[in-house]
Symmetry: C2
């Protein structure tokens, strides 16, 4: 595959599947007003249907019974949860559940100091940040709809109603799913979402389609479940629909040793490790192939909001930020959810890259049938994300920023990542030997994917690609820079030998100054390795 | 089985397996002093061996390769994590990982308001609680060993070094494991610990031994994995070792349809739902049966620190609290870990019942082999508990209370639960028809297990136990009280019919006033149900 090029940014309006009513921030505000105050106490049942647009005329999702695993089907609601129906009886005293009393939680109050739009810089936040405080009984005392008594107690496998409301609205604003009966469930992050997705859809011995270079943890998680990845060739826009179609058309169970794949795992935006972003046109083409072969899609989108401004080159002025939240949303490439008329997409979102990984909060959006399976899986494993994380996110995102402020934050992050990428690319222009190393400006994500022309290595005729890769890798460490080997991300396990040589460098983790030094060192390492023996 | 009686409290010194050196709070303090300041930045590797007593002369744990599942064996460390070795090189700049920069986390500071020993009451905490604050760069600025920059970023599958240190020391103080190479790993709570334990030890089609009445979520979690529970008869001290031995001696694979069990799941203290607590003698007898049949033990101990003062009866003065932390620790029944010379116990602890469920933090203690399997399982699912939860717990437990203050809190909780249990028992004495309902004072936990003599029901000859159970249950709801049906907790799924009739009532969830009303109502419901037809 070639390194990624800048994608063709297509406005949301380009997507046929997106129909009226177009959700808006104002529309959501008036919907909330009409619904009245959210009343959701300890361990309240909740679901996205309570917070979505009313009837939309969209189609209903298909059923996936034919793909759900033995484990996925075997999950039933708890017998004790059935008793909850009686709790509505006025005056009833419950000695039924085992929920401890909030008065025995030794945390009375929690406060966080956070920035206020548009003053998002760390310096601003530190010096004049706003203090948000949650008390133990804010909800019963009427000063908030969420409090520590609720957040610190047990909760449902969906996550809290307070956060389900926010992420449902957010998902509608961003993705506006193309079918009617979608929903969201909170998870403890996308790694857990994928684990639950795999256990719901894949039996041991199954295979999953994926980009030929992919997130190595996904490969490893699947491998432990006895599920292998089948690589699909990529170009600068990510996986190639024709290649996917070809693999499926010519699938032979016997020679492949596995039934025909029924799941595609894809990272459509700022893909890890290649940085490739699928254009709207590409997504539609892939979705069509998925429909043709009845493929269910795991859409893993941690980097969706790390879409950046176009790269203008080392000496050009950078593009100004989007003028408004609406303009910002229009710059974003349409999601699979927004194309998904069948309900064949399980989208995985996460706060890890846009707020902080340590929150361990993400969410899944899918049809109600699949959401219910994930809720059941949560109930018998993680239960739901940390209540402390949920109330901190709620205070920040819902009560303080609101949807509009959160989009402002995301625009701010977009510009920050644009600057970081541009610094790295400028250093590449300056310090890398262009006859040996090639790359394309990534349009999203945290990673630059660099192709090294190993043919020009003096020992190319007698050394393997992996040997040359290791040589460059160690030379780079010797020079004082760590980059990731491309071979670590090969989707296909076993003795597979890649045809090309790549390295992955991140622009997310180091100061701009250090990044420049790092690339200078990498350039020196490549030159040394390719010098006369 | 009979309802539980008060257990014979045996001092720790009774346990042969516990040998020198006896860990003490002072000993741990001086160990910390000797070790110097904990240096553990973002995503630091850690393990319990760094924080345990040095060489103890204890035996090493047995290996469990013969029991570890295909899934359990298939988990390998991530290729990317291997690159971490190079990070030690001075001056190296890493573009290798994908860890976001802390400057882009929009939370500058977090504060919690908490009680200070011995003023633990909610009123004290609210009016004069101490404010604990964690900033983003406290560790690099030298004011703490943990900060938001670390807590909010990605971390290892073990949990943070800061919390691993605390729980390792705590576990040593409380359990003093009887073998050398034990360790701890943080989990997102005991439901997740059990899920990971089951996936590590049990293949689909396996069976697990358990108390005949047990935690229904454990049964449901196992059932989804194709693992069924085999019930062991109980008495007032929990499961009967002779019954366990008998089941194993007479196991017939063909008629049972499963290989001989190799795992016991037990809740030894304040068992849910029966409230039974295994005495030290009982634990030793069960451990011996486990050794005889090479059974691996899942020790699920959410209620371990809800061991209460002896019940002195309705008109007697209550027993005074333990005079010191040392005296308190001596009142606690010895854990399986403290008996476990073979390393055949995976102990599950949780902060849910002793701090708050919403932290979603628990931990597993087991031999290093098993800990490493759980760490790998964390890496490809939950990663590790919320960093916000971890830093809040660290501030409270380690920096503010310390081990001594935490034990003071646990003594406070012990007295609180003693009062609550006593209120419920007093109400039972007063309001329940003793010719129909019998119970024994639970020595630990959150639950009272009430046996109803269904033989005396007017329709006993033509109604099933389950029909009578439902009749009482609905009559109680009608009177305005919800209790849990005993049949919900039957370990054996399917058409199993119990021989006796139980209800479970919690004393953890309602005010003392409401509990008394609730029991009065339950008494009325039983009387009505058993009245003339």
């Amino acid at each position: 595959m070639a390194p990624p090029s800048a994608i063709d940014i297509v406005a949301v309006s380009d997507t046929e599947a997106i129909t009226i009513p177009d959700p808006t921030i104002d529309g959501i505000a008036s919907r909330r007003l009409k619904a009245g105050k959210l009343v959701a106490g300890t361990a309240s049942a909740t679901n996205s249907a309570l917070f979505k647009s009313p009837f939309t005329g969209k189609p209903k999702a298909k059923r996936w019974d034919h793909y759900i695993t033995v484990e996925g089907k075997a999950r039933h609601p708890s017998a004790l949860k059935g008793a909850a129906e009686h709790l509505k009886k006025p005056g009833l005293i419950s000695l039924g559940g085992g929920l401890p009393l909030a008065e025995n939680f030794p945390i009375e109050e929690i406060s966080i100091k956070v920035p206020t739009a548009p003053h998002f810089s760390e310096k601003d936040a530190r010096e004049s940040g706003k203090i948000l405080t949650a008390g133990k009984y804010d909800a019963s005392e009427g000063s908030s709809v969420y409090d520590l008594a609720i957040a610190l107690n047990y909760a449902q496998g969906t996550g809290s109603a307070q956060m389900i409301r926010f992420i449902t609205e957010h998902t509608e604003l961003v993705c506006n799913p193309a079918y009617a009966d979608w929903g969201c469930v909170l998870t403890v992050g996308s790694t857990s979402s994928l684990d639950k997705g795999l256990r719901t859809f894949c039996e041991r011995g199954d295979v999953v389609l994926a980009e030929e270079y992919t997130y190595s943890s996904a490969v490893e998680s699947a491998a432990a479940l006895g599920v292998n990845f089948i690589p699909i060739k990529m170009d600068s826009e990510g996986l190639l629909p024709e290649e996917m179609d070809d693999i499926l058309n010519t699938w032979d169970e016997k020679s492949r040793g596995a039934r025909k794949p029924h799941v595609l795992y894809t990272v459509p935006t700022g893909q890890n490790p290649t940085g490739a972003t699928q254009s709207a046109t590409r997504r539609k083409a892939i979705y069509k192939v998925a429909q043709k072969h009845d493929i269910y899609i795991f859409e893993d989108e941690p980097y969706f909001f790390l879409q950046m401004q176009p790269y203008t080159g080392p000496d050009s002025p950078s593009a100004p930020p989007p003028a408004s939240n609406e303009a910002f949303l229009k710059t974003l490439v349409p999601t699979y959810l927004s194309l998904d008329v069948d309900g064949r997409v399980m989208r995985m979102d996460s706060f890890s890259k846009v707020i902080a990984p340590g929150t361990r909060v993400g969410w899944v959006t899918a049809s109600e049938q699949i959401i219910e399976r994930i809720v059941r899986a949560n109930e018998s494993s993680v239960q739901n994300p940390s209540g402390l994380s949920q109330i901190v996110l709620f205070k920040l995102l819902d009560e303080h920023w609101g949807h509009a402020g959160y989009f402002q934050w995301l625009i701010n992050l977009r510009m920050e990542y644009t600057r970081r990428r541009d610094t790295l690319l400028d250093a590449c222009e300056k310090f890398l030997p262009k006859d040996l190393v090639s790359w394309n400006p990534p349009a999203a994500g945290m990673f630059l994917w660099m192709k090294v022309d190993y043919h020009k290595h003096p020992a190319a005729s007698r050394k393997t690609i992996l040997e040359i890769e290791d040589e460059i890798y160690l030379a780079a460490v010797e020079e004082g820079v760590l980059v990731a080997k491309g071979s670590w991300f090969i989707a296909q396990r076993g003795d597979f030998v890649p045809e090309e040589l790549f390295f992955r460098a991140t622009f997310a983790a180091e100061s701009q100054d250090k990044m420049t030094h790092a690339i200078e060192r990498f350039g020196a390492a490549v030159r040394k390795t390719f010098g006369p023996e």
